[in-house]
């Protein structure tokens, strides 16, 4: 019996998604085959999804070996830590009524979680690219487009160890000018360009 780990996990993910979806679907009226309610198609979909997941899972028990890439200890540790930090940040900010509105709580939790994930060198590209993206969302409406770009580029640049400060500064100037020209001057999207509190 050779286990195909990649397929085994794929199957498990599909099953998990199906079960969660099926459970969430409980609140919708099913109706019947003739007059389908809002819950009918989701029910069919999640049954099929679960079935496929199970098939993938069972076949994976014999179709290996197909192991995952080796994880270092730090990488193993960083994943649950990042998930925990995400939820703690979310619920603490939510409970304290800090930064309410406009999904600031969600964005901050994502940003902090992704930064924590980047502690492990192997997850650095994954964590920092997403952290930069989330930071852009966090900063955009209060600090304006220019500063949001700076924040996003700086954080995302940390993902590649080849970057040097000079190159990053040059890139920031170039991209700020380019984005201003394309999005503000030419396309005129409605977004604050400079900080709102000044």
């Amino acid at each position: 019996m050779k286990i195909n780990t990649k397929d085994l996990l794929s199957g498990a993910i599909l099953i998990l998604l199906a079960v969660v979806g099926y459970w969430l679907n409980q609140e919708h009226a099913l109706g019947n085959a003739r007059r389908m309610g809002p819950g009918y198609m989701p029910m069919l979909t999640f049954w099929i999804l679960g079935g496929l997941g199970l098939a993938v899972f069972l076949i994976a028990l014999f179709s290996g070996p197909n192991p995952l890439d080796k994880w270092t200890k730090l990488e193993i540790l960083a994943v649950p830590l990042a998930i925990a930090v995400f939820f703690i940040t979310y619920f603490v900010f939510d409970a304290l009524k800090l930064f309410t509105g406009n999904y600031y709580v969600l964005g901050s939790a994502m940003f902090v979680g992704c930064v924590v994930l980047a502690v492990a060198p192997g997850w650095r590209p994954l964590g920092l690219v997403h952290a930069g993206f989330a930071l852009f969302g966090l900063m955009l409406e209060q600090f304006g487009l220019m500063l949001a770009l700076v924040g996003c580029i700086v954080v995302a640049s940390l993902a590649d160890p080849d970057h040097r400060p000079k190159g990053v500064i040059g890139m920031i100037i170039f991209l700020c000018a380019l984005c201003w020209w394309v999005f503000i001057k030419e396309l005129d999207i409605r977004v604050p360009v400079w900080p709102q509190f000044l």
């Binding site: 085959a33 979909t45 496929l52 999904y103 690219v129 997403h130 080849d162």
Partner: protein
Amino acid sequence: MELLLQNLGHGFGVALTIDNLLFALLGCLIGTAIGVLPGIGPVATISLLLPITFGQPATTAIIMLAGIYYGAQYGGSTTAILLNLPGEVSSVVTTLEGYKMARNGRAGAALTIAALGSFFAGTVATILVAASGPLLTSIALSFGPADYFSLMLLGLIISAVLAQGSVLKSIGMVVFGVALGLVGTDVQTGQQRFTFGVPELSDGIGFVSIAMGMFGIAEIILNLERPEARSVLTQKVGSLFLTKEEFRRATPAVLRGTVVGSLLGILPGGGASLASFGSYMMERKVSRGRAQFGNGAIEGVAGPESANNAASQTSFIPLLTLGIPANAVMALMVGALIIQGIQPGPRMVEAQPDLFWGLIASMWIGNLMLLVINLPMIGMWVKLLQVPYKYLYPSILVFCAIGVYSLNNNVFDVYQTVIFGILGYIFSKLRMEPAPLLIGFVLGPMMEEHLRRAMLLSRGDATVFIERPISATMLGIGAVAILAMALPSLRKGKDKALAE
């Protein structure tokens, strides 16, 4: 015939306006650029540029987006031939013979035949789209809801069967895509489904977020994890002219490639990459120069390059006539049309003649432009490769970020994209293909509507799907496709054909 010419004339009238010409050129330029650059493909680029096109009229927007797709097929061959570095998946096989030709000092000839073959194939495919459009549309108008449902189901099955890797996993991804498409307000009862009380989700999950996260951002991270391998151009391009012998050998290959590409492009799940693989396999078996394969046979460049360009255009046929996207790029086109307020489907040819005929005419004009953009300006495109990826990826990232925000001027879309980026990364690590997911996501809501209507009309009797001949045929083909993939020999053949 006369009507066709009249319609094409109308199309050229639309395509030749200054605005449309400019945007076709812009699309072709962007397409060539991303075709040359490995690590960013047409799906990511089109989803990146979607928000920018909203300000334009629908026709102009689609003309530009289409230009990106077929422009990428031209650009991808340049680096494949000169640097042994496929810019796109569809150019992978071109490296096999094309790079050998370059090492033999015939890089110029390889580039010329790739461009000329693509142009010829593009012209034929354009005519095919124009001719089959009204024909297929008239057939499609006789489809009932049950037939539509089965047709879409068939499309989903074939797109999963033809995807890389395990068929079961691909079907799983399709179904997950359908499930994601269920989020939002139920059209018939107005009930909110799976929205968790988030008002932004009541219109459904933003498909730009899914496409950008899974194809744009996840791709950036995967590229960052790979060590950068950039070779510099060492070969001389050499004469661009073909010798008589080369021309004689390439011509039948171009013709075969055009036929193979046009057919495989129409298939759901097909498109440019499948077509170039198919054509390469064929040339290796039937062409007169098959003995020279591996040493720079010109047939191995002429065939696949013609095929991928033909396919990138005929894959518009199911979209424009039936409203069914054949691949991930077409799924994005559906999204672009819907955001513009146009429901893709058989009525589009009648209701939007400007869009349909204008797009077809612009495809031909775009191919002509690409010939000029590519051949004399090849040096400029190769220079583009010297931009290191470390400067490229932050640029892609900020364009993604601004683009996704400006969709609804809402930061929720930005955070949504983060989620799909992480999900896309996990999926690609587990070899779960994101392309079938996107097609499922786009088709899911339409399938639900047709399923409900069909079952209402048949009073809850599911046998309607087998009793109607069109529907039964579709389901039959789908069943055969799944069974065929269960045969080990066929599956191995597919894996071999799709292996990079």
